[in-house]
Symmetry: D2
Subunit: 213 residues, 4 copies
């Protein structure tokens, strides 16, 4: 089996992106699956093109994209991506789309077809906080998740795809007051656990992970 | 013009639901539109049936559902409803669906076709904090929003629909530590502003309202 | 009986100070006590001098100072003031003392001799959230509270004094994300309740109001 | 030089106390100073007696007590302890004092005579978030800090003393929603940095560390 895992480059004034920092440290083989790591630009469209190329070239079984969610407390496995770009800040090339669909001919939304609740449980089994998230936002994170699931839906029907948001790491919060962080070692370990769960579970487990709002 | 506005009954151990408390106080006519108020049960399916009946009977131009989002700081106008019920707690009749679609034959998600950003701006124009939300959760609030938009999409194509989440009111947070609240008078005033914006704007305004994640 | 109540002028980039906005609206007579309202500058030392003058002139029975605590959720009645000025930002005249005592010959700290727990209960009795705070910070709010209690301790032994921190009001948080607020009418009503409790209770009530940390 | 460092045992329903977990891992010698570690009970008075005995026996130069502050985001070095016990929950032997002085003949408050700002800077220099706190609460943490400084003030005038609050560790927040944590390795490393700063700095540095409120 083959897993393509991506991490964004830094954006929004940050010097590093914990997503890519953590992805770099992941083992090369997990549960027998080969792990391919790819850094992608925090840029609308270009990020999707770059992942699409790797999907075409590598034919991975699983595509898992990782992004920073500054302010979140735990590893959040995303449930769904929506067909909208609505950028509060500019991406790394100055684009700031407002209320534009990611793909004109895409569904309103795509659900991740990875076993998201099994992934949450496996991460928590490693002693690291994790939960389901029902929104990946409307910036480049939702955009890449939507793009990957769109291409899976249209072209690569045997692949599975999803997205995980990770908190800030400590060096990012030294001068931010009352911001949660997670050490990069915990994020890497959690991502390895998430990959393991995705590799060994074809179907998700039945477990409440909902949010009241 | 006619506006159907609904509010849920209390749930989750609360004695009142600020949604219905605030809806009760709304004026009967706003910008010439007649306002019809309806209390609905915090119960999966039954809530949709009750709103569907009122849509059939009253033939409103706009259907706006209101729900409580304890812990939120401002009036959040929801952008999208997703096709999943995933209940962390039981509803008022003991149902707790986990990862079930709202409607088997529905889209993955429906976007509100109300002018959500104009609604946010009109509320803020009244001096009351408001923002766009990209997730209505996976409990009865997302459920009713999805249900209304499903029926609009399938049957009532001329109607417009959406959902607003409101914070706790003060009497609910007296014994909860560090929980934001909004006075019921502010919520009512904000809902009137939101209705006004929906009545007078056929198209939404172009204004960034996105979330990074 | 006579009550001197003060509110600071705006600081830290804010256009208004909710403390003074709320104080202005307080009734002139509460439980038979005459209420004297005084706006004071957000300036080290000058603020104390101005209150000291009013204490000398008016000979109030109670001195209650009010200040803004942006980010707090409820009406917080302060328990104690400490003998240190440590300013993270400049005051309104550019002073920024670091680790300087308020008064060289003062105690390390003074406890409010108002019935702080009775005040909290009376505010909550009005349906408005309130709690005890164990730190008034180290800026001008702690400074004025310390100064008032210092002068009471040294000179005006029959007076009673204290401090209440109030949250932002809505117009201040319109462009701040996820900040709690309280409407100015609630703050005014809460202050009237606090004054009532101070006027009618010579001794405080025995009720847990502690914080674990 | 000799440093006595204490950590409380678990309380409030927690199975472990991160304070003691982290203290156990500290090196035995830091900057030439011998480190003596002591677990103390989360019990009013008994905790002070136990530390007092160790102060008498070991004659340490520095006494640093460590406690859990669930909900805090960073390592908080406490500035001041106040002369009051006001317990919101029972201690580990069922005591729940309300508004009782720690020592009848003590000052209203004692300031730590450790170089608290140098300690914060040294911790941040290790890449770990830290700040000054102006309240150690009114439970057993403030109690032990007050007790140590009281005994230093009355009897052991050459000793220096202080207190640091530490966040939850990850295993404690797995089933708590949106609670910050710090890995125990970071806490241990931060405590070593704090001890180093206390050992090498006789005087504190001049650096703003204040809080507006």
């Amino acid at each position: 089996m083959k897993v393509l895992i991506t991490g964004f480059d830094p954006f929004g004034g940050e010097k590093i992106n914990p997503a890519w920092e953590a992805v770099k440290g992941i083992k090369d083989i997990i549960e027998g699956a080969k792990i391919i790591k790819l850094e992608i630009p925090t840029v609308f469209n270009k990020s999707i093109e770059k992942v699409k190329e790797a999907m075409e070239l590598e034919k991975p079984d699983i595509v898992l994209c990782i992004g920073q969610a500054g302010g979140r407390y735990d590893m959040t496995v995303e449930r769904v991506a929506i067909n909208v770009d609505d950028a509060r800040i500019e991406d790394n090339e100055g684009n700031q789309p407002i209320d534009i669909p990611v793909f004109e001919d895409g569904e309103n939304a795509y659900f991740s077809n990875l076993p998201i609740k099994a992934m949450v449980e496996e991460i928590k089994g490693q002693g690291i906080p994790s939960s389901i998230s029902n929104s990946a936002g409307t910036f480049v994170c939702n955009h890449i998740m939507y793009g990957v699931l769109y291409h899976i839906n249209k072209t690569y029907k045997n692949m599975r795809g999803g997205f995980i948001h990770v908190p800030f790491i400590n060096e990012q919060v030294l001068d931010k007051k009352n911001q949660p962080y997670m050490p990069v070692e915990h994020i890497t370990k959690a991502l390895e656990a998430a990959i393991k769960a995705a590799v060994i579970n074809n179907e998700d487990i039945k477990k409440s992970g909902g949010a009241i709002c």
